[in-house]
């Protein structure tokens, strides 16, 4: 069953990261915390009452193709309708586009709640939101009228179509073609595969955003353009026309998110498929699509947090109830009373690891979103600070995507381990969480593609200033709080880990300058992990300082439950620093050690078996 910890979420939003600071800025002054809380409350209710109960049945039913059309599991259509009546998808949309202009920092929490309740269902509105956001940014007023407005009403859905059988990680290999017809209209031909929400029965129309190459355009990503390819043609003025020659060839049968249709689509089989060039600008496709991809990368990280959170909370509930074994204190007494497994040290270790990771990742995602909100809000008044915040968004996007994706799977695995055999069977939700979580490290650019993005682009962008600003923030934190009683050792360990990160980036630079690019790509993934673990440790410790002060207050007021909540925050930070963070030194050793075995082993050396 879907579970959410609103107390922990509110702590991160308001007590720790103080997102209420946004309401003081012009860009968000039309909102107040009270409303944001009401929106979050309704979102929890929607998630728990409407989409949550459809998650396990949706997983079992899956999607099927009937007469060339994808049929979604029972209940999805009604849930879709309710979702759009409520309007969560418009929360972060600008007011001028008909949205509510809400902060992304709150938007992250809304999407966490929705993805946690039903990861597969939320793919449909999630992609619609991403596509709508792209059209809002780059579409012409006519595109807005014809496509964006019906998407925000839930009458049309959206997709992103990059992948082709020969173009997965290598988007530049795209073969789908566009031939100019008239104005902004082009004839589209090609095949896209693995398209999430590629077809379904939730809406009267689907707006595919398709990357294609205009005839005569240069090869590689530079020659790609982005097209609006509706499933059903939309006339000027908005009336639906005829079918637009987009066919669903098949859907995948897969490990997880089974209720989310993953389709192979063919465009222009009969030569009648038309696409509209987004914003009327050729060869801008990659830049335009990157807006959706960056949004989607953060959204995938948030999917990870979502699944990890509900997996953790379910494991915690089970650990409190399941009686097994007796306390280690009575190990000699066979008649000692049975205890709930939460009393066993190893179970507590797993629970605290899950808690620390879930809460650390959530903090990272909200902080990233807060950077994005501040960048947008300050753009007009304070260019320097806006650039700083924008730089942090760039730097942290691959970290959020890759780390949260990987850790979602690890946390789901720990959740199953906490349950024991019960976790492996369908009676409990955690086995589905594990299956659903695996995709996060693959789509939206595999995690390795994220690591390459980090080491080859993000570290050096703006002359390396983003990383410098990031390390400076941690350095100042360590200097300021390094003597805090109770947390001094952990804050010192963070300083050492940040130094390790700096040395690792120095090693990368050396590989780059000495032309050892293969060495860079070999260690990009462990480098990203170091960066992520330093980031999370910093945020958890920062939260712990806030929590420690609150704990003292709560104890003074005899609010035991509150005091325990805050104590839990401090313990989570300490645990992460002492049990997880030391790994950065092992990874650093591997990076600077320069071992080339994985590069030099002959292909046949892996095995001579055929």
């Amino acid at each position: 069953m879907f579970k959410a910890d609103l107390r922990a979420i509110r702590f991160t939003l308001y007590e720790h990261l103080k997102v209420q600071q946004l309401f003081e800025l012009d860009a968000f002054s039309h909102l107040a915390r009270e409303e944001c809380d009401a929106v979050i409350d309704q979102c929890v209710r929607f998630a728990a009452e409407v989409t949550g109960p459809l998650s396990a049945p949706g997983d079992r039913a899956g999607c099927r193709v009937e007469d060339g059309r994808v049929v979604t599991p029972p209940g999805f259509r009604e849930a879709w309708r309710t979702l759009f009546e409520l309007g969560f998808l418009s929360f972060t949309m600008p007011v001028k586009a008909g949205g509510f202009g809400g902060p992304r920092a709150i938007g992250v929490v809304l999407s966490e709640l929705q993805s946690g309740a039903n990861t597969a269902f939320n793919m449909y509105p999630g992609l619609t939101h991403g596509a709508a956001d792209l059209l809002e940014a780059f579409g012409s007023p006519r595109d807005h009228e014809r496509f964006l407005a019906p998407m925000l009403e839930g009458r049309f859905a959206g997709t992103m179509c990059l992948t082709e059988p020969h173009a997965g990680s290598d988007v530049g290999a795209t073969r789908t073609r566009a031939r100019h017809l008239e104005g902004d209209v082009y004839a589209i031909t090609g095949t896209k595969c693995f398209i999430s929400s590629g077809d379904h029965d939730l809406t009267e129309n689907i707006v595919h955003l398709v990357l294609a190459r205009i005839d005569g355009a240069p090869p590689g990503t530079k020659g790609l353009s982005l097209f609006i390819v509706p499933k059903v043609w939309v006339e000027e003025g908005g009336a639906l026309g005829g079918a637009n020659d987009v066919a669903t060839a098949s859907i995948e049968h897969k490990l997880g998110i089974r209720a989310s249709a993953t389709a192979t689509l063919t465009f222009g089989d009969d030569g009648r498929c038309r696409g509209i060039l987004v914003g009327g600008r050729p060869h801008e496709g990659m830049r335009q699509m990157f807006r959706m991809m960056n949004g989607a990368r953060i959204a995938v990280g948030v999917q990870g947090i979502a699944v990890a959170s509900t997996a953790y909370l379910n494991a915690l509930a089970y650990a409190r109830e399941r009686l097994q074994g007796s306390s280690v204190r009575h190990f000699k007494d066979p008649n000692a009373p049975r205890v709930p497994i939460i009393e066993h040290a190893d179970v507590r270790r797993m629970l605290l690891e899950m808690k620390a990771k879930v809460e650390g990742m959530r903090t990272l995602a909200v902080k990233l979103a807060l950077h994005a909100d501040l960048a947008a809000a300050l753009a007009a008044t304070d260019e320097g600070r806006a650039a700083y915040h924008e730089g942090q968004v760039d730097l942290l996007t691959p970290v959020v995507k890759a780390y949260c994706a990987d850790q979602a799977f690890r946390v789901a695995e720990l959740a199953i381990q906490t349950y024991g055999g019960a976790g492996y069977v369908e009676d409990h939700p955690v086995e589905q969480y594990l299956r659903d979580a695996k995709i996060f490290s693959i789509y939206e650019g595999t995690n390795h593609i994220q690591a390459l993005d980090l080491v080859s682009r993000k570290l050096s962008s703006r002359g390396g200033e983003n990383l410098t600003a990031f390390l400076t923030e941690i350095g100042e934190f360590v200097a300021r709080h390094g003597a805090r009683p109770g947390l001094a050792a952990e804050i010192g360990a963070l300083g050492a880990a940040a130094a390790a990160l700096q040395r690792a980036s120095g090693a990368l630079l050396e590989f780059f300058t000495s032309g050892r690019l293969d060495q860079v790509t070999l260690v990009a993934t462990p480098f990203l992990e170091i960066m992520a673990e330093v980031t999370i440790a910093h945020l958890l410790l920062d939260a712990a300082l806030v929590a420690e002060a609150r704990r003292v207050e709560a104890e003074g007021d005899h609010h035991q439950e509150d005091a325990d909540f805050y104590r839990g925050k401090v313990m989570a930070a300490k645990f992460y620093v002492n049990f997880v963070l030391p790994g950065v030194h092992a990874k650093l050793a591997a990076i600077v050690g320069g071992d080339r075995s994985a590069l030099d082993i002959p292909d046949a050396g892996f095995s001579t078996a055929r």
Partner: protein, 259 residues
């Protein structure tokens, strides 16, 4: 048609309620507050009456401390037009009769044609205020309403009330007081538009003096609250099915004296 809905803010059903330090009230630390579910049916029904008639006004009203604004705000988010908050230290220890008196004073001022309430608040389950309010106003009243229909002229309301095995149907001349039962409707979720629009709607703060009421000694005093004793553990009967059934029947007959 003007409709007044009286609502109460109560601890969320999922909250683990603890007895407070004084032994007479609950410890409110860490409680999540909600609009009492039966009252939500009342709000929903009022909104539906207004929507069906195409015109009218729905006013939410509640008595309680500052935190109650949040509950009124969520009624506004559902679609109520405005709200009245009876918020005064004089009402800090009210009993049901004093609550009904305060509500009656507002009803007299506002002069709605219909007052809707929940059949009871889920905190102390007293279920007395609605009847007391109707009595003070001298208006007809029906409880446990499963269906209602206001006639076209707004002169009477036909209300069906839940009774053992069926419905009992009444015609009440308006103005009247109705108390909603679960099943009357399915309350809507507030939409984002509703939530964002709620802050532009008025919540009027009303003091006892505004209604010409003073502090009144409570006629009902809580002497003490006690937590329920923990439920004894269940029993699992072991063995093959025929002998387990035999043992179950014996236990139900002899130990539990249930059959």
């Amino acid at each position: 048609m003007k409709i007044l809905v009286a609502i109460k803010q109560v601890p969320d059903t999922a909250t683990q309620v603890k007895v407070g330090g004084d032994g007479k009230s609950i410890d409110t630390a860490g409680i999540t507050w909600i609009v009492s579910p039966y009252d939500e049916y009342a709000v929903e029904e009022a909104l539906r009456i207004k929507e069906k008639r195409g015109q009218g006004e729905v006013v939410a009203i509640s008595l309680g401390p500052d935190r109650v604004r949040e509950a009124l705000r969520s009624c506004l988010a559902m679609g109520c037009d405005r709200a009245i908050h009876l918020n005064d230290a004089a009402w800090s220890a009210v009993d049901t009769l004093a609550t009904a008196r305060a509500l009656a004073a507002v009803v007299t001022q506002e002069a709605p044609q219909l007052v809707l309430c929940g059949r009871q608040a889920i905190d102390d389950d007293m279920g007395a205020v609605t009847a007391q309010l109707a009595e003070l106003l001298g208006w007809p009243c029906a409880y446990w309403i499963m269906e209602e229909a206001v006639d076209a002229d707004g002169k009477t309301v036909r209300a069906a009330r839940q009774v053992e095995g069926g419905l009992e149907v009444f015609d009440l001349p308006l103005p009247a007081v109705l108390a909603a039962q679960k099943g009357l409707n399915e309350p809507r979720y507030p939409t984002l538009k509703g939530i964002m629009g709620a802050k532009k709607k008025e919540i009027k703060d009303v003091k006892a003096a505004d209604l010409g009421l003073g502090a009144e000694p409570a006629q009902l005093a809580v002497l003490g609250l006690e937590a329920l004793p923990p439920r004894p553990p269940g029993r699992i009967i072991e063995g093959d099915v025929p002998s387990a059934v035999k043992e179950l029947v014996r236990a139900l007959r002899e130990d539990a004296k249930a059959i």
